[in-house]
């Protein structure tokens, strides 16, 4: 039984086959992200603007963390001439939470052009957030130089091999995947056989009851392949996670919140802290969406979209900052 708080947005992962009523709605306020709380192995999301109303013990749960994405430090075009300012707004939101999150997950496109000074600026801004630990995965904008030399220099977790890694926090197993390297002409995101093999081994000995959080930049589900919003070989990764009762997949890349539930797997994409992009098929291309300046924040608190392929129209839930 899930207790409701006014404006609290919950997903109750019902595993007994009963038709689910509550969708995961990780709301993006100020284009910043969502507070995700694990309680009893169930991932619940709260909009950041509402978390001050939560009782600390409820907000604390067993584990709480924040997902942000697509800060695109260095972008300065019309869609948002000051992406540092909106990232700072995200940090202010995170720091203002009643219970500080344990850490931040950044699902990539940290920078716009992989430049050292862009990485530096993001590090500086994030260092002002209350959670001191930030875990990154790269976006395609972070690996423009020599297959991600600068990114790897700063954030390489693994001692060898690729930049993928895993860690545990309060009994939850986190897996950071890289699906933005070695992209092929006409293709989608790709994990590759070496990373998949690593992941298979990584989860092999975990108990089925371990909650799993996978995070990667490009969506690990088919959001809109026409715009490259998907990963070619993510199905194989999900096969390795079949035994687990609670799997949450956190992605970015599309600059809007979207969620999908498939069996025991919940997929969610975060908004960008930099600029919005159009909803699938709603524009000629997936580029930055320009709006009058006074409307920017209202679009950073983006529309959530539920896409069920081939069966339903896109279901929209608007969540805005201003």
């Amino acid at each position: 039984m899930v207790e409701k708080i006014k404006d609290e947005l919950l997903y109750d992962h019902n595993r007994d086959g009963i038709d689910r009523r509550g969708f995961l709605k990780c709301m993006a306020w100020a284009g910043t992200g969502a507070l995700c709380v694990f309680q009893g192995g169930v991932l619940k999301s709260y909009s950041l603007s509402q978390t001050s109303q939560l009782r600390p013990e409820k907000a604390a749960g067993e584990l709480s963390f924040v997902q942000i994405s697509d800060s695109h430090m260095g972008f300065n075009k019309a869609a948002n001439p000051d992406v540092a300012r909106t990232l700072e707004a995200a940090v202010d939101k995170i720091s203002g939470l009643g219970t500080p999150p344990a850490f931040i997950l950044h699902t990539g496109d940290i920078t716009h052009l992989s430049k050292p000074e862009e990485f530096d600026t993001v590090d500086q801004i994030l260092s002002r957030a209350t959670p001191k630990d930030v875990f990154f995965v790269p976006g395609e904008h972070d690996v423009l130089d020599d297959e991600g030399k600068e990114y790897r220099k700063r954030y390489q977790k693994a001692s060898g091999g690729g930049s993928w890694y895993s860690f545990d926090s309060k009994g939850v197993h986190f897996i950071g995947l890289v699906n933005v390297l070695g992209l092929k002409a006409g293709g989608l995101g790709t994990l590759g056989p070496e990373q998949l093999e690593w992941m298979k081994k990584d989860v092999k000995h975990l108990k089925h009851s371990t909650p799993i959080v996978v995070f990667a930049h490009i969506p690990l589900w088919s959001v809109y392949p026409e715009w490259g919003w998907g990963t070619e070989d993510s199905a194989q990764a999900l096969v390795y996670l079949k035994k687990f009762g609670s799997v949450t997949v956190l992605n970015g890349h599309i600059h809007q919140t979207m969620q999908k539930v498939e069996g025991h797997v919940t997929f969610h994409t975060a908004a960008s802290t930099a600029f919005p992009q159009p909803q699938p098929g709603q524009a000629d291309s997936p580029g930055p969406m320009k709006v009058p300046a006074e409307q920017l924040k209202s679009l950073l608190g983006i529309t959530t979209v539920n896409y069920v392929r081939g069966q339903h129209a896109l279901a929209l839930v608007d969540s805005t900052l201003g």
Binding site: H112, L113, L144, K184, G186, L188, W227, G228, P288
Partner: protein, 117 residues
């Protein structure tokens, strides 16, 4: 007898005219110089034109007019640009004939090709 000679002469005239017009391709260089530069515009996550046909020796210049960075990467490893921000360019001179598919390595659904005669 006369007819046959006339027809052979006629055929010779036709062939001569054909060669002077550059038929078959590449044999009459005087009339068919490769133009100095040919442009491909990158905009709205597309290469325009998507298929570009040029003569060998042509230098093709890609110009990024989009508000997002893109790259120009040969699918067969023949050429590769650095990342192009808005208004930046990349040029490549095609010294061999053939078909050269390419794509943007940031947005791999963006594809194009250059056909070189």
């Amino acid at each position: 007898m006369i007819g046959r000679r006339v027809s052979v002469a006629g055929l010779a005239v036709v062939v001569a005219i054909g060669l002077s017009l550059g038929w078959p391709c590449g044999t009459a260089k005087a009339q068919q110089e490769a133009p100095a530069r040919v442009e491909v515009k990158i905009d709205n996550f597309r290469f325009g034109p998507g298929t570009l046909t040029v003569l060998v020796g042509t230098t093709v210049t890609w110009t990024n007019r989009d508000d997002m960075p893109h790259t120009v990467v040969s699918a067969d490893g023949v050429f590769r640009s650095v990342v192009l921000d808005t208004d930046e360019t990349f040029s490549f001179t095609f010294r061999n004939t053939g078909t050269f598919p390419y794509f943007c390595s940031l947005h791999p659904k963006m594809t194009g090709k250059v056909v070189v005669h």
